[in-house]
């Protein structure tokens, strides 16, 4: 799989211009949607705002369905995508850390930068803490390395494990996502609206 730049469709001289343009567009959309507020992400946990859940799940199924159709039309080779190995134990542990971090701070790495960009102090503190965390992890890496490489299951995909085709899997995931949207709406109704 190659990018537009590596295929020569966009010359390398223009790469920075495109990077700034695409980054700016994503930032604008996220800010317009209110993602610079830490309460937005935390809302998914407390049940008063499921926007982030909707956005990310919708992005997931849009790209999944879109890529499968693009493969069908011969524009891309979906099945040549690199699938990184699954390291089950560090993945579980890392997910727990990330989840706690999301709830505690109300940011993910991307939204923290967005928040910092518009001058919010909590965004800057999150970025600073991330850098400290990376530094601590790097220093402790010799100790953490066995855990880092533990439980390698190889390049697994859920549809391979379940023995279903990617198309059936995409359809099932779409149904699950729609069901989650409906469930999120039910939970949202029971919660008091939070103004922020």
């Amino acid at each position: 799989m190659e990018s537009f730049i590596s295929t020569g469709l966009i010359s390398s001289e223009w790469s920075s211009v495109f990077a700034v343009g695409i980054g700016g567009a994503i930032g604008f959309v996220l800010e317009s949607s209110g993602f610079s507020s830490s309460r937005k992400v935390a809302g998914s946990f407390y049940g008063y705002d499921f926007t982030s859940l909707r956005v990310f799940l919708m992005a997931g199924i849009t790209s999944l369905i879109g890529l499968l159709y693009m493969d069908f039309f011969g524009w891309i080779d979906f099945f040549s995508f690199n699938i990184p190995d699954t390291y089950i134990w560090p993945t579980i542990l890392g997910s727990v850390f990330m989840g706690v971090g999301f709830v505690a701070s109300g940011f993910c790495p991307g939204t923290s930068i967005l928040s910092a960009a518009i001058g919010k102090l909590d965004g800057w503190i999150f970025i600073g803490s991330t850098i400290v965390g990376i530094l601590v992890f790097t220093l402790l890496f010799p100790l953490l390395e066995p855990l880092y490489n533990a439980g390698n299951l190889g390049a697994l995909t859920i549809n391979d494990v379940l023995g279903v085709s990617p198309y059936v899997y995409a359809f099932i995931v779409t149904l699950i996502v729609i069901a989650l949207f409906y469930l999120a709406t039910l939970i949202r109704r029971r919660k008091t609206s939070v103004k922020y």
Binding site: Y69, F72, F79, S165, P166, Y167, A170, F171, F181, T185
Partner: protein, 209 residues
């Protein structure tokens, strides 16, 4: 829930439902990495120039010579009967069946044996069977056959016979004998059969030396 959410949900389910009617994807089995590594390092992948020369002259139908060099190299010089598939097109040739000949040996060659080994590696990844690499490539062909030098007088009989074989191969492919000019070669020289080391050992033992 807003009406637009219902519409969006129905649209997404409809589009995802359409995926179920696409032609079913069959996972490529590929080659097991351990087996691939074993095949890549298999010493029997190397085929000697003498064996290739003999098979070319006898017009052995069970092998295919594949020149994997660039177009201008192929146009400058190539082994007679070789087909040209540049390295960059090996994968395509393997996929479209050009290299699929279950009962034939496929011998890749290049100037040395680096590119030909790469070509063989690509072919193996596409499950092409019976692949070989010409030992030393065209450089070896040129130095050992075209420019074959006579062995020392004290050399073994095997070495002398190998030299004669290689000279006869060179003559067959149009090179003049030391005391000939190019114009003298009007008919194909009679090929001196290649005597393999084992065959010769047997004959020496038979003579009781």
């Amino acid at each position: 829930m807003k009406r637009s959410y219902y519409i969006l949900s129905i649209v997404f389910i409809g589009i995802a439902f359409g995926l179920l009617f696409l032609p079913q994807y069959k996972a490529k089995q590929g080659v097991n990495p351990e087996i691939l590594l074993q095949q890549l390092n298999d010493p029997t992948r190397i085929i000697g120039i003498d064996e290739v020369a003999e098979r070319m002259i006898t017009k052995d139908p069970s092998f295919i010579l594949v020149d994997v060099r660039l177009s201008w190299d192929f146009e400058d010089f190539a082994l007679p009967g070789a087909i040209h598939i540049p390295l960059a097109e090996i994968a395509i040739a393997a996929e479209n069946g050009t290299l699929t000949h279950p009962h034939k040996d496929i011998v890749f060659y290049s100037n040395s044996d680096v590119t030909s080994n790469q070509a063989r590696a690509i072919a193996l990844q596409h499950s092409v069977k019976n692949t070989y690499v010409l030992e030393g490539g065209l450089n070896n062909w040129f130095t050992s056959i075209i420019m074959a030098t006579p062995p020392a007088e004290t050399a073994t009989q095997v070495e002398h016979e190998l030299y004669l074989f290689r000279k006869s191969v060179a003559v067959y492919f149009g090179m003049p004998l030391p005391n000939q000019t190019q114009g003298d070669i009007k008919a194909k020289a009679e090929l001196i059969p290649l005597v393999k080391a084992n065959d010769n050992k047997e004959s020496i033992e038979a003579e009781g030396c």
